[in-house]
Amino acid sequence: MTTRAIAAILPPKRAAGRRRFLQRFVRQPLAMTGLVYLVLIALVAALAPLLVPHDPNVQDLRGVLQPPSAEHLLGTDELGRDVLSRLIMGSRVSLLAAVQGTAVAIAIGLPLGLIAGYVRGRTDRVVMILTDTIMALPALVLAMAIVAIWGPSLTNAMLAIGIITAPRALRLVRGSVLHIREETYIEASRSIGTPDWKIIVKHVLPNAAAPLIVFTAVLAGTVMLMEAGLSFIGLGVQPPEASWGAMLGTSFRYLSRAPILAIYPGLAIAVTVLALNLVGDGVRDSIGKQVQR
């Protein structure tokens, strides 16, 4: 797909800016590598049931913790299940979890940040007190408590993580809005009587979007790491499903017997988060100086 073709799909008004952005983006090798990897891993996740060499949940109690073999390319885990198959299925869970958690964080942080930053006054103070409160509580502990209360499940864990990371998104958006609202064209709009919500949607939001997009990539990475942490201590995905974090967690018990089991899932997480960060960096560098930070 050429950049022009992409630009053609987008609304004409901002097509020129978008085209420049895309042209800059594709010229960055690291960012492109990250993007390619993410697309690949998303494909793997989507096609997982077709790609797995074995059923990831089939146990072989008499063949546990086996080293790699022709039958099991990466060996078997503590219940005799095929590690490779579980890694592939795990990609589905981990990626979906990252998307869920990020979506929740943005869904909470974006509107609240817009409102707090634009309207200011009492609303802003109240929102800031709430965010400060959440940020003062230790993240993992808060997540544990929320999950423990609602019941251990991946969805609950992602909701918890979304709530906990929402303050960061909120602050970012609010910061952008604070800058943007001082612009003259905002003043102009307001003086001719345009309703606030219209101003927010048509003028403030698009300008706040760019740093938010960068942030989203990084946030997805953070959410993924937090999910791994929660699953590690057993509060995330529930058996027999696998997520990379859960696989990492169970591998700890057998670290001296089969250390290799700790390496695969950790590597998968690290590389994916890395790709997300690289893409985020790439987006940031491609935006250029035309948008305020």
């Binding site: 400060d132 003062a136 509580l137 502990v141 408590a145």
Partner: protein, 314 residues
């Protein structure tokens, strides 16, 4: 400056109160019944009720909250439901472990982050720069507990140089203490080091191109002196930010590391108490942590204002 800080200070009070309500509310919602667990084998419902009464768990929630807050203001953090140990004592007992961990992590972060960032900026574009950039990007992406597991596999199992688990207080010897705390400290500090390296590097690169360095040279100062003086001054801002952020995130980040390395610190205390629904301990630890975080935020803002003239004037 104070016009910036006073509102922040004023905001801290309601935040603190809200934190106490949240902590109390959340822990009361936790599933599980400490009275049932404390009642031993085969208790009758009456016995469980008796224990519940003794622990004050049968009073309405708001009353329990008020009692707790009252004791809090007298400096009494309460007593563990499980072993009757005063919470303050439990916290103090575990503090040296977590502090040791934080110390080693912080030193690692600062040394590697600062030096790496400065070095990378000085040799910008060269192989050193590229390597450190790659390493730091990876370092930010990696879960700290995975780094911990890898370090254990490499340095304990394979090479046998360092122990895999446990904590030894410095009173029993400096090397024993260090050998036990080094691996977890590095695991904990790696992400911060990577972050600091990147920020130092970019802040340095910005600075190096600025005019006042050139004017400094015109005034006859040796380039090395200028470099280091300006370098450190500009690195101080990201340093404070990252350091404060790391400390604030400490309790959360330390939980899994303490579990992997079997360190009897605050992280494992809090995780155990959540699982046991030992309310006083959870409340005590989280509250103390929140207090520290709030204070740290204030200090950070203060130092930020001091160091960054632009903020001061806005």
């Amino acid at each position: 400056m104070f016009s910036v800080l006073l509102p922040r200070l004023a905001r801290t009070v309601p935040v603190f109160l809200l934190v106490t309500v949240c902590v109390f509310g959340l822990t009361s919602l936790l599933p599980g019944d400490p009275a049932a667990a404390l009642a031993g084998e085969n208790p009758t419902p009456e016995q469980v009720e008796e224990i519940r009464r003794q622990l004050g768990l049968d009073r309405p929630l708001w009353e329990q909250y008020v009692v707790w807050m009252g004791k809090l203001f007298q400096g009494d953090l309460g007593v563990s439901l499980y072993n009757g140990q005063p919470v303050a004592q439990a916290i103090l007992g575990r503090l040296p472990v977590t502090l040791s961990l934080a110390l080693v992590a912080m030193i690692f972060t600062i040394v590697v982050g600062l030096l790496g960032g400065i070095l990378a900026a000085a040799r910008r574009g060269g192989p050193v720069d590229k390597v450190t950039t790659v390493l730091s990007t990876i370092g930010i992406a990696t879960p700290n507990f995975w780094i911990g597991l890898l370090l254990i596999i490499l340095f304990s199992f394979t090479l046998g140089w360092l122990p895999a688990v446990g904590y030894v207080p410095p009173t029993q010897g400096l090397w024993p203490w260090l050998s036990h705390i080094l691996l977890p400290g590095i695991a904990l500090g790696a992400a911060g080091a990577a972050e600091l390296l990147r920020q130092t590097r970019s802040s340095m690169i910005d600075t190096l191109g600025q005019d006042y360095i050139r004017t400094g040279r015109a005034q006859g100062l040796g380039s090395a002196a200028i470099f280091w003086r300006r370098a450190l001054r500009n690195a101080s801002l990201p340093l404070v930010t990252v350091a404060a952020f790391q400390l604030a995130m400490l309790l959360g980040g330390v939980v899994i590391i303490e579990k992997i390395f079997s360190l009897p610190g605050l992280g494992s205390l809090v995780i155990d108490s959540v699982f046991q629904k030992d309310l006083p301990v959870i409340q005590g630890v989280v509250l103390v942590n929140a207090l520290i975080v709030l204070v740290l935020n204030l200090i950070t803002d203060f130092v930020y204002t001091l160091l960054n003239p632009k903020v001061r004037s806005s």
